[in-house]
Point group: C2
Chain length 556, copies 2
Amino acid sequence: MDDLWEKHRPLLDDAYRAWRTRDHWSAFPESPSPRVWGESAAAAGLTAFEAYRGEAFALDTPGADGWVAPEQPPTGIEWDIRYPHLTSDGAPLLVSASQAALPAWRDAGPHRRAGLVVEILHRLAERSFELAHAVMHTTGQGFVMAFQAGAAHALDRALEAVAVAVHEMTVVPPEAEWVKPAGRDRFQRLHKRYHIVPRGIGLVIGCTTFPTWNGFPGLFASLVCGNPVIVKPHPHAVLPLAIAVRIARQTLAEHGFDPNLVTLAVEADGEGLARVLATQTDVRIIDYTGSSAFGAWLEENARHAVVYAEKSAVNCALLESTDNFTGMTANLAYSLALYSGQMCTTPRVFLVPAGGIATDVGKRGVDDIVAALRTALADLTAEPKRAAALLGAIVDGRVAARVEEAMHREDVAIPSRRLEHPDFPAALVRTPVVLRTRFDADDAYRAEWFGPIAFIVETPSPEVSLTLWEDITQHSGGLTASVYSTDPAFLRQAEEIATRTGVLTALNFTADTYVNQTAAFSDFHGSAANRAATAAMTDPAFVTHRFHIAEIRQPR
Amino acid sequence: MDDLWEKHRPLLDDAYRAWRTRDHWSAFPESPSPRVWGESAAAAGLTAFEAYRGEAFALDTPGADGWVAPEQPPTGIEWDIRYPHLTSDGAPLLVSASQAALPAWRDAGPHRRAGLVVEILHRLAERSFELAHAVMHTTGQGFVMAFQAGAAHALDRALEAVAVAVHEMTVVPPEAEWVKPAGRDRFQRLHKRYHIVPRGIGLVIGCTTFPTWNGFPGLFASLVCGNPVIVKPHPHAVLPLAIAVRIARQTLAEHGFDPNLVTLAVEADGEGLARVLATQTDVRIIDYTGSSAFGAWLEENARHAVVYAEKSAVNCALLESTDNFTGMTANLAYSLALYSGQMCTTPRVFLVPAGGIATDVGKRGVDDIVAALRTALADLTAEPKRAAALLGAIVDGRVAARVEEAMHREDVAIPSRRLEHPDFPAALVRTPVVLRTRFDADDAYRAEWFGPIAFIVETPSPEVSLTLWEDITQHSGGLTASVYSTDPAFLRQAEEIATRTGVLTALNFTADTYVNQTAAFSDFHGSAANRAATAAMTDPAFVTHRFHIAEIRQPR
């Protein structure tokens, strides 16, 4: 068993070193190229994925009663994948089964657990194509994005959390000799043993848009700390997490552990299973990604648990001046269009001084900026294949309705257009809608409009933009921000606000890095410093509340 | 300014290394001997302490209105020390003044803050005698204990928390270069900066019995992470924390920082100031030691803050067998008598099989154990000076009333005796009262009887003792446990329960180490794994929620 620790220890060491130095590093290949994977991998992954369609997904969920097929793929393809159905009646049975799995897993200790968890990650990585198809169809992401964010980067984020957790669990030795001088040639001598105590059952509440990227870090961090984990996917994005749970269970069972250390709890839309599970008092850790409203409900009602939540964010872009006007507008347009603004990191509010901004091509007013964004968005979406890969599909009716709502506003500056998807005719593909408003016109832009919707907000001055940014972030939360300025004093002020509010802030992104992308081992996603999140992937606080330390001491 | 970092860095490095290896280590001398301190230190400390009596304690507390002298020294000496009085009207002013002090302290960064905080600890260490007198008179501890626990060990615990906090804040570099290959000879290059974001104002709610030992770790951990700290001492134990706050303020001001980074909020008995301060939403960290009831109130009502609480504990001692009967009973008697059982770590419930236990002097029944404890307690308290040094004084009327209540029970096995204090005639000195009950007689022993009160609880078997121990710990909380057994299988079972419940457990303590003493850098005090505490001094979780990390990234 300890073979797995020896086998995977070098990777964990590398991962921890990368996390500390924060240079670029990755354990899992993000390119789906045959040069990396060989000629047959893509086809084999597709075949494996296809085999799920129209079938019952073979998986044991203690307490489950019957089957449920809740997914509605935004790509519109035939689906009908059935999963074991958990109702509120079954929830206590599932919790009991999870709890029963804890002792042996706890007693295995951090190193054996770490070896096994990294083994699971490797096996998941081998299924990258299969996972990518599952993510693409449940989220509507383009395939390359689904491959990268849904497999490689999700696994990197998981490995990152596991590496930090292993470090924190082993920073104290398993045993120590304590020898205290107690007068002439006398000593007090104690032998001490320190055991890691798992906090208790972890519950991962998944989201529709990034089920693995947002779900894996908490899942594997809890698991490596000795906690059984119940995965409650969003009813519309089950398959990617179901695949992960099955592989985890198989790997655990193969190595002599109770597969119920990782379980899947699937419900139909609107059954409220997350509430039922979150209020089981044996659930002691909750990882959640989703709306602020349910996040607040969890914090209010799941008081027996530590809640790591990622909630809504109103991410701002501040335009003060630039030496690359075309690069700026192209970069912003791409960030907005990427996966149709269905990222928690998408810029949503562009704060622009009404008097315009200084640029490399002269003063540019708000009209000019709108025009440039329109052109950039048109360029990005001109070619159907490329447009579909960038925009993906609208994930669900709520986002579609929000686009409609935006389109009915009086302040539409760039309307959304409906495009055909070259591969999935039933998919809803929409270009972003950009609204234009004054900072004091109404409060609409202060809420998150999740989807391909952005506000250009005219402010009296760059200084007001700064104030407004801080205010929006404090009240509505912020995960990312973009600041464009050639003025060092303005950038300094912006950095101060970023530091006060804990927003991951990009200064002058004009080329091929985008504010909505964060890199494992280098970028912190979330900071827990404002309303958008109580979790940062991965800072030390993300792992340290998942375990305790028990001590036994004995005279020698 | 950075001189202080360079000056104190070696000590912090040593402290962190000691914390990791967990051998005996201490930064501050625990012996009040003139061989350590020189001939004049003791007298100078006494003089400094005496100067406070009958005077107004010079200290600025923003928002304070008038003066208050709430202390009632258990040693019974004349006191009348007046402090600035904070009422609920003044609380928001104090919070505003704290908040105003934050930015410059945050911007100083972890290293400058660490240098300054360790400087404060050193200056406090120089006042060890003065602190010891303040602790002795406000808590009733014997002088040597007050010197050790109130000064040296409290400072060690503070240094420990600071060292771990500094490590966690600096585990990630302040800046990094991120270079990602992006195709043939192309790279994405970002410069990244990581800033520590303090969580917000810290509130330390002190206790009567160990105001500095329990108060310093949270105070200095919050401070070094960039958070201003409001210290709200128990109205009966103000002076030790007032001295610490004054020295902290002086040191901060001397080095150009706002002294309001550390403030003192004193109330009269029953004014409810802790509730008022805890519900100020700018208070984001609370360190609390005291009753479970108020701890639960904080957790329920101070939801904007992370609460590190140490609450009630029903610590058990399990007697199964021993190869040193005299050593065992002497050790238990000492642990119970030490500071009259007024320690959160005092053993309170002795679980003994009704059929007796095997010992080196033959089978010993419950009667024999009672007799041996009676003898041991009599020996410990036979000589008045020694008895007073060991027992100290009863801290307040609530403990005195509890002793009376116990003495009126029908099951008194060893009655409490009142002793004269050789130095402080007005002090109330009581030997422990030991009650004897059956495990199923009533539930009295399942609650914490804080004070010199213990229950000998007869159980049907050692196995029932184990079950009962786990049950009591889960329901009432446990900070320490003692297990006496010569049976490796029994000890193994005990270690499993200790691991499940996170109780610091001592196996077969029969000599001069005691279960109620924990050593900084080696022993974890609390584990957060059961109801007794949500804090462990010092595990990583004790510090990681006191700060966040903000990131700024910029193309190179």
